[in-house]
Amino acid sequence: MKTCLKFLLKHYLRLITLMVLFVHRPTVVAIAGSVNKNFVKQEIKSRLERMGLDVRANPKNFNTEIGLPLAILDLPSGYNEYRKWIPVILGAPLKIFQRNFPKFLILSLGTSDEGDMGYLLSMLKPDISIVTDITQRYREGFSDMNNLVEEYHTLTNKTRKKGTLVLNSDNYRVREIAKDNKRKIIYFGFSELTDAMIKEVIKTPKGQKVIIKYKDKEREQEIQRFGKHHAYAFTIGFIVETELIKMLATKKTNT
C-alpha cells in the first residue's frame, strides 16, 4: 500500500514538475558529487542573490525523487503522515500558473542507488552542471565504483548541449566522465593544469584567504569558513557567476 502510494506520488510530482519547468523555463544549475553539495549551493545562491537575481535552491535533503520536485515546486514534505500530503497534492498543479516563478534554480542532486540520476534528469535539463568530487561516500547502493561514476556520466550527458560542465580536476574519476563530451567544460582544482586554479589557501584567525587564478586573472578573497572544501565552493561559485553573466548577456543580445 505504502509502496504503491509512493510510486503514484513520485510520478505525479514528476509530471507536475515537467509542466512547471516547461511553462516557466528557468535556468537550472545542477550540483552533484559525493561531498560539498550544500556549501557549493549556498555559495552560488548567495552570489546570484547579490546580483539581484531571483533564485530558488532546494533545501538540504530535498534532492531525491520526491524531495527534488517538492523543492522545485516550493512545497513542503508530508513525510510519513498521509494527512499532510493532501494539501501538497492539491496545491501542486497551482504552481503551473504561479506568477513570479524564480528565473534561476540551484539544485543539488542526490544519488544513492543506480538510476537515481537518470530519474532526476528526466524532470529537468541543467544549463550548468557541477560535479564537486566523487568518493566512496554514499557508495553503499552501488555494486561497484564504476556504476556510481556512471551516474555522474549521465549528468554530463544530459546537460543542455549548449550548457557548461564545471568539474573537479583534482579527481581523476571526475576528469574521466567528460572525456568525449562536446560541451563546454571548465575544470577547477589545485592542479596547475586546471582552468580555475586554487593557488593558495591561507588560514587566518577568522577563516581563510583563498587565492584563485581564472583566465589569467588572480582573485583573492577572505572567507569566514575553514577547510579546503570552502575554497572549492568559493571557486565554483566564482565560475558559475561568471558563466551566468555571460549567458545573460547572450540572451539579452539575442532578444
Binding site: N38, P205, K206, Q224, F226, G227
Partner: protein, 409 residues
C-alpha cells in the same frame, strides 16, 4: 602449579577513588522496589524517532555498519555536523575539526586525557554533572570546585574563578546549560570566563548537551562562536538528549584542528571509532530531526511547568530556582523536613545543610520515588536534590502525589 592471589599493594591506584555515581546507586536501590518511580536518571522517556530508526534500517540492509569507520567518524556525518554548526553560527572544518565520539563522556575523557598532564588542575563550577570529577580522577588530575551562586540563579561569580586559578590550572570545564540546575550562563558571564582563560592561558571545555531544551528565551550563546577562541574552546554535543538516543552512544566535539588532532589520538586508542550503526542514526537525526526536537522541547516545557508547580506547592519542604533549560529541577531541602525524621537522626551536615544523601534514600524508602542527592553534583549541591522531568507527566504527578501524602500537604 600453585596459584596465589595478587598481593601488590599499588594495584587499582587509578580507580580506587572512583565511586559508582550516586545516580546509579539510587537507581540500584530503586530497582528493588516494585512500584518505584524514578526521577533520578537523566534520560528522556521518549523513544528514538521513527525516521532515525528507518535511516538505521536502511544502513543495516545495505551492509555498511559492520566495519569500522574512519576514527574521526563517517565523513558524511561530519559534513552534516558542520552544516548544523553553521546554522548556529559556528564555523568548523568537518575534515579536521570535528570528531564523532562514543557518547559525550568518551569525548570528554579523550579531551581531558589529551589536554592535561597528571597533577594538573581543572576548575569546575558546581553543582554540575557528576561524571566530570571521575574523568579527571582517571586522568590523574584534580577537580577544583568553584561554587555557583544560588542567590544569583546559580550563575557564575567570576571572582571565585580568579581565586581558584593556580599555576597548575589547565582548563575550566563547564556544562551549559547546566545539569542539574538548568541554568543558562549569560553571554557576559561566558565572555568574562573567556577573558580569564585568555589571561591565564587555559582551555575552556564546554559541554552543551542540553542546548536544545531552552524554554524561555530564543537565543543561546556559545563561546565556540567566537573565531578568536577556537584554539581555546573545545565544545561537546551529544545526540542522546536532543534526539532521545541515550542508548546509541553517539556525540561529537569540535575545536581548532590542532586540538582535535591530539584528542583524536586518545579517541582512537579508547574506542577506534564511535559505533558505526549509531553514526548512521546520527545522520538520520541531522537530516530531518529539527522538527522532532521542537516537539520534545515543547513537551519538556509543559513538564517543567508541571514540576515547578508541584515542587512550589511543597513550599515548607523545598525552595527552588526555576530551571530555564535541560530537564532537571534542583530544589533546596528546607529545615522543616527534620520534623519527619526521628529525633536522634543526624540529618544535618557540618555546614548546617540537610544531608541530601540521607534525605534521598529516606524519600525513596518512604515513597518509592527516586531522586538524586545534590551532593553528588559537588559540595555546593549538598542540601538539595535533583529531580528529572524527562519522565512522563503521569509519573511526575504520581511521584508528587506520594510526596504530598508523606508531607501531609
Amino acid at each position: 602449579m600453585k596459584y596465589t592471589a595478587l598481593t601488590k599493594t599499588h594495584m587499582f591506584e587509578r580507580t580506587k577513588n572512583i565511586n559508582l555515581s550516586a545516580i546509579k546507586q539510587i537507581e540500584l536501590k530503586a530497582s528493588e522496589y516494585p512500584d518505584a518511580i524514578s526521577l533520578a536518571q537523566g534520560i528522556p522517556d521518549f523513544d528514538t524517532p521513527e525516521f532515525i530508526k528507518r535511516r538505521v534500517e536502511r544502513a543495516l540492509k545495505r551492509g555498511v555498519v559492520a566495519k569500522y569507520s574512519l576514527s574521526p567518524g563517517l565523513p558524511e556525518l561530519r559534513e552534516l555536523i558542520e552544516e548544523s554548526l553553521e546554522e548556529e553560527g559556528m564555523y568548523y572544518d568537518w575534515e579536521k575539526e570535528i570528531l564523532v565520539t562514543a557518547g559525550s563522556i568518551e569525548g570528554i575523557t579523550a579531551t581531558v586525557m589529551a589536554i592535561t598532564n597528571p597533577g594538573d588542575e581543572v576548575i569546575i563550577p558546581e553543582p554540575t554533572y557528576t561524571s566530570y570529577r571521575e574523568v579527571l580522577s582517571l586522568a590523574g588530575c584534580k577537580a577544583v570546585f568553584v561554587p555557583l551562586d544560588e542567590e544569583k540563579g546559580w550563575g557564575f561569580d567570576i571572582e571565585r574563578f580568579k581565586k581558584a586559578i593556580t599555576e597548575k590550572t589547565r582548563a575550566i570545564f563547564y556544562c551549559n546549560p547546566n545539569n542539574p540546575t538548568g541554568t543558562i550562563y549569560t553571554r557576559e558571564q561566558l565572555l568574562s570566563l573567556a577573558d580569564l582563560a585568555e589571561e591565564n592561558d587555559l582551555f575552556l571545555i564546554s559541554d552543551e548537551v542540553y542546548k536544545d531544551f531552552i524554554y524561555d528565551q530564543d537565543d543561546f550563546f556559545s563561546l565556540a562562536e567566537i573565531p578568536k577562541l577556537r584554539k581555546r574552546v573545545i565544545r561537546i554535543f551529544s545526540f542522546s538528549k536532543a534526539f532521545a538516543m541515550t542508548g546509541w552512544r553517539v556525540a561529537y566535539l569540535h575545536s581548532d584542528e590542532e586540538n582535535v588532532r591530539e584528542i583524536t589520538k586518545v579517541h582512537d586508542s579508547l574506542v577506534t571509532c564511535a559505533p558505526v550503526i549509531s553514526q548512521y542514526a546520527a545522520m538520520g537525526a541531522l537530516e530531518i530531526g529539527g522538527e522532532k526536537v521542537r516537539i520534545f522541547r515543547d513537551e519538556y516545557k509543559k513538564r517543567r511547568d508541571l514540576i515547578c508547580e508541584r515542587v512550589g506547592a511543597l513550599k515548607d519542604i523545598f525552595e527552588f530556582v526555576q530551571p530555564d533549560s535541560a530537564y532537571y529541577i534542583f530544589p533546596k531541602i528546607l529545615p522543616k523536613v527534620k520534623e519527619f525524621f526521628e529525633k536522634d537522626t543526624q540529618i544535618l551536615t557540618g555546614n548546617g545543610r540537610i544531608d541530601s544523601r540521607k534525605f534521598a534514600h529516606w524519600l525513596l524508602d518512604q515513597t518509592q520515588v527516586a531522586t538524586v542527592p545534590g551532593v553528588a553534583f559537588g559540595p555546593n549541591g549538598e542540601g538539595h536534590i535533583r529531580m528529572s522531568f524527562g519522565r512522563r507527566k503521569e509519573d511526575i504527578t504520581e511521584a508528587f502525589d506520594r510526596m504530598n501524602r508523606l508531607f501531609n500537604t
